[in-house]
């Protein structure tokens, strides 16, 4: 198949890559841009491991064509925080048991990030609903909820610290 250039702003950097028109966004990220943080857990949008933020909204990249996102701003798990730093959401999952095998974690981080960006203080029901498109086979979700709680606390304390300085 002939290729065309797709232009994406991924994790803050403009990237151009020649792709066949049927290239999935997940394959473009994983194979062409070598951002392997987003995972393929299924082939039919059922698991959420491949979620990325497109203009701030979670999108399942395993069923998205890369060319549908021409000139869009995309954030993958690698871009949630600056290199060497962790976002409160990442701290929450790392410290409260939200990541066991870690394979679903990138998708959960993206879903959680999107939720907290919109609702910094979500209700338990909002958290449960926001994470219902992502499957985790390890945790039984309890420590994922703990991780989200910890992420909220960390975000708050960072905001307080920023306010002081």
């Amino acid at each position: 198949m002939s290729k065309e250039i797709v232009r994406l702003k991924v994790n803050g950097e403009w990237r151009e890559v020649a792709l066949p028109l049927n290239r999935l966004l997940l394959d473009a990220l994983r194979e062409d841009l070598v951002l392997t943080g987003s995972k393929r857990g299924c082939d039919d949008a059922s698991c959420g491991c491949c979620a990325v933020l497109v203009d701030g909204v979670p999108v399942l990249s395993c069923v998205a064509l890369a060319f549908s996102y021409q000139d869009c701003v995309i954030v993958t798990v690698e871009g949630i925080a600056a290199p060497g730093e962790l976002d409160p959401v990442q701290e929450g999952y790392a410290e409260a048991g939200g990541a066991q095998c870690g394979f679903c974690t990138p998708g959960f981080l993206i879903a959680t990030k999107a939720l907290l960006d919109r609702h910094p203080h979500p209700t338990p029901e909002q958290i449960r609903n926001a994470l219902s498109s992502n499957l985790c086979r390890c945790t039984g979700y309890m420590q994922i909820y703990e991780s989200v709680k910890l992420a909220i606390e960390r975000a708050e304390s960072r905001a307080v610290a920023a306010g002081r300085s």
Binding site: R30, T36, G37, A94, Q100, C101, F103, L131, L135, G140
Partner: protein, 783 residues
């Protein structure tokens, strides 16, 4: 145990940062220059003779670099020495839809796919055996020559005298139970990358729980010495048993790489994962049990038929576990077991979390609930009256060294408000309980040998880093963290100083793998041994340097103290430098092998079930049942698990909750649906594992029985809680609406049918027509 600074404290996983940044590499994330993509051709027929395979058209396709069939690697393999019945690609027959026939390595996935379509296979379709109850009666057309009547293995065990025991019971029940087939559904699909090196060695990266067995099998099937193969386990995205035997793609990648002399990566699609399977088999269970008026179980009989699928796999072990752990959780003097592992033309089943114990536990715990009801006794009280008195040896020869089940029962009873709720729930709401147990590793290795089950090597050099070389396979359960924690504890160093090199056969000594919940107990004990040896060496060197008796030297919190002195003499870096002067690099080794007394009886099949120690769980579940739709909703689950000692409460709780979650899925919604040998739901959209919306509040309670032989008292935490969840839910459904669903999963259809049958039987009774008594709902196998 007192005085520990790290043991018993929550510690985030050592690899957590690599996981939350997306920088950690799973096998499919790894690419190397010149890498080819492999794809496997699967059989479209459940049972067919292969008359011929013509690969010439595929080979001629531009971009195809290797095409392999069974002729390229004819040696059969299998995880058990008694079960080498599977070729990487089949030569004579295809035995299930999805069986492996040939494979292609090409310069792109698209070309590889296209090439599969150009392989011509001439099949002669044979009648297929799809139901184990029919397959085991087959007079001919057996799936494997040498397995008459399609019976892979059968075992018959009898301890005490069950007939006599049932004859003197006040209440006897005979019930049939059924459990549908379930699969692991780890989020990471299996992936293998085999890299052919310039010097003719092969490095294989694979998503495996068992690098050592993979290493052996690759050497055997690829016909290369083990020394020419290196197996590396990158991050693994969950296993649950689905990666605990060698999976066809792992060998296929090796065979393709050897032929192409190029790196080859194969990653399964989710559909292929379901067909590769090795999950929990369809199980038919006929149970008989007797109870006295006082609530003492007199005897227990089980006849179990497992639908093993087309190859042996772990099958004989599964059916032996079903028998070995059938009654051994309680003090039951008379136990009889007839177990059959039957071959059918479906994907092979294997080990899945709670291996072999889960379905029989469902049946036995549901049976106890029913018997307690017959006797007018509280089911929780019935468990109390049948407890073992540890330490002891069960009737089938299992050595019980620690037994926290009584405390588990009391803790969940108290936390749930059992006494206030049982029998007093409003209509449509119910409460149920059940117990389970599991091994902390198998006392006997799969391949009989006298090699320790785990060896750990330690190294300290001038940088004063403590490097741990461990073959144990972290698959998400936290075993790397556990080992770092133990080494740091024993050496009194900051865990940050400890670096773990894991599961790389060029570097790390043998560990048998992550299965049967063996790693904490076995690798944990080997870590203690290694760290003690290292500590002794280090302190001997320091003593020599200081000119002091080694007995006078202590190492605490990275400081060297001499007896009687308040101020430390050296820090850890200085201590290492001192010790290095006398011997160069510090190296130490630790090992673990289960003690002889833990290895079980001498009868046929007694090798499976023995463990150095057993975990226990008790659970209470509350449900509500919608009588209009039959839908069961679990409101909450309280699970108490005796893990001996929670080395890391954070990961122990994660393991308990994860086990309960998986039990919940099997109880209510997970089932592989088969039609003519074809899986009707090979995707996560259709095979529905619970999402956040279906998962209730799970509360885990840690019970610590301090096992005398476990590392710091620890035993397993990762599997034992799964089995209790299922019968606890079934028993709660009975409490809510008065019907017993004896077949899994407990779907709305089955609940509605049982409610209908119950109403009908009540109407018949009310009209005085007699009729069959008791609305016993769904009997096993009535599908």
């Amino acid at each position: 145990m007192a005085g520990e600074t790290l043991i018993g404290k929550p510690m985030p996983m050592t690899d957590a940062r690599s996981k939350v940044t997306g920088l950690g590499k799973y096998t499919d994330d790894i690419s190397v220059p010149g890498m080819l993509i492999g794809r496997i051709l699967h059989s479209p027929h459940p049972h067919a003779r292969i008359r011929g395979i013509d690969t010439s058209r595929a080979e001629a396709l531009e971009g195809v670099k290797a095409v392999c069939t069974g002729k390229d690697a004819p040696r059969p393999y299998g995880i058990l020495p008694i079960g080498h019945d599977e070729g990487v690609f089949q030569i004579d027959k295809a035995r299930y839809i999805g069986d492996n026939i040939a494979a292609v390595a090409a310069t792109s996935a698209e070309i590889a796919e296209q090439a599969l379509g150009l392989i011509d296979v001439d099949y002669e379709v044979l009648p297929a055996w799809l139901d184990p109850r029919e397959a085991m009666l087959a007079a001919d057309n057996w799936i494997h020559q040498g397995k008459p009547n399609n019976i892979e293995k059968e075992y018959h065990h009898h301890f005490g005298n069950v007939d006599e025991a049932l004859a003197r019971a006040d209440f006897v029940r005979e019930e049939s139970y059924f459990a549908g087939e379930v699969s692991h559904a780890a989020m990471e699909p299996h992936s293998t990358l085999a890299v052919w090196d310039a010097d003719g060695r092969m490095t294989v990266y694979s998503s495996t729980q068992v690098p050592y067995y993979l290493h052996r099998t690759l050497a055997d099937v690829c016909e290369m010495p083990m020394s020419q193969i290196r197996v590396i386990k990158p991050l693994v995205g969950g296993g649950f048993g689905g990666k605990s035997e060698v999976i066809p793609l792992e060998i296929a990648a090796g065979v393709l790489a050897k032929k192409a002399k190029r790196p080859v990566k194969i990653t399964y699609t989710r559909e292929e994962v379901f067909y590769a399977h090795r999950g929990r088999p369809i199980t038919y269970m006929d149970i008989k049990a007797g109870l006295t008026r006082e609530g003492k179980i007199t005897g227990l009989y089980a006849r179990v038929v497992q639908d093993g699928g087309a190859y042996c796999g772990y099958g004989p072990v599964t059916v032996l576990y079903s028998g070995a752990l059938l009654g051994a959780i309680y003090d039951i003097p008379n136990v009889k077991y007839d177990g059959y592992r039957v071959l059918t033309n479906k994907p092979a089943c294997g080990a899945m979390r709670g291996h072999g114990t889960v379905n029989v536990r469902f049946a036995v715990e549901a049976m106890l609930d029913a018997l307690a009801h017959d006797a007018g006794l509280d089911p929780l009280e019935v468990r109390r009256r049948n407890l073992l008195k540890a330490p002891c040896i069960t009737v089938n020869g299992l050595r019980v060294t620690s037994y926290g089940l009584p405390e588990c029962i009391e803790r969940v009873a108290e936390r749930s408000g059992w006494n206030e709720k049982k029998g007093k729930m409003p209509p449509g709401r119910g409460i149920g309980m059940a117990c389970s147990h599991y091994v902390s590793g198998a006392a006997n290795p799969i391949i009989r040998s006298n090699i320790p089950h785990t060896t750990i090597n330690l190294k300290i050099d001038r940088d004063a880093t403590v490097t741990v070389y461990s073959g144990a396979a972290e698959i998400g359960q936290g075993s790397d963290t556990m080992q770092v924690q133990i080494i740091a504890e024993v050496l009194s160093v900051d865990p940050q100083r400890v670096r773990l090199v894991a599961a790389d056969t060029d570097l790390t000594p043998i560990d048998l793998g992550s299965y049967s919940s063996r790693v904490t107990f076995m690798a944990g004990n080997a870590c203690i041994d290694a760290a003690k040896n290292m500590r002794a060496q280090l302190l001997a060197g320091v003593a020599k340097k200081l000119g002091v008796d080694p007995a006078q030297i202590d190492l605490r919190n990275e400081q060297i103290f001499v007896a009687g002195e308040a101020q430390p003499r050296m820090n850890f870096d200085q201590a290492v430098a001192a010790a290095l002067e006398f011997q160069g690099g510090l190296v130490a080794r630790g090992t673990y092998a289960p003690p002889e007394e833990a290895r079980g009886g001498k009868f046929k099949g007694s090798g499976v079930g023995p463990s150095p120690s057993y975990s226990y769980s008790a659970q209470v579940v509350e449900v509500h049942v919608d009588e209009e739709t039959g839908r069961v909703t679990v409101d909450n689950i309280i699970a108490a698990h005796d893990c001996g000692r929670a080395l890391n409460p954070l990961t122990v709780e994660g393991q308990i909750e994860g086990s309960v979650y998986m039990g919940l899925g099997q109880a209510l919604q997970e089932e592989m649906i088969w039609l003519d040998g074809r899986l009707m739901n090979p995707s996560l959209l259709e095979y529905r594992i619970p999402s956040t919306l279906e998962t209730p509040e799970i509360e885990s309670i840690i019970v610590e029985s301090m096992d005398p032989e476990g590392p710091f008292g620890a035993k397993e935490a990762g599997e034992g809680s799964l089995a209790a969840t299922i019968p606890a839910i079934a028993n709660a459904v009975f409490d809510a609406v008065g019907v017993r669903i004896n077949t899994l999963p407990i779907t709305p259809e089955k609940v509605l049918a049982a409610l209908e049958a119950k109403k009908k039987s009540e109407r018949v009774k009310a009209s005085g027509n007699g009729g069959p008594a008791g609305g016993n709902g769904n009997r096993g196998g009535s599908r």
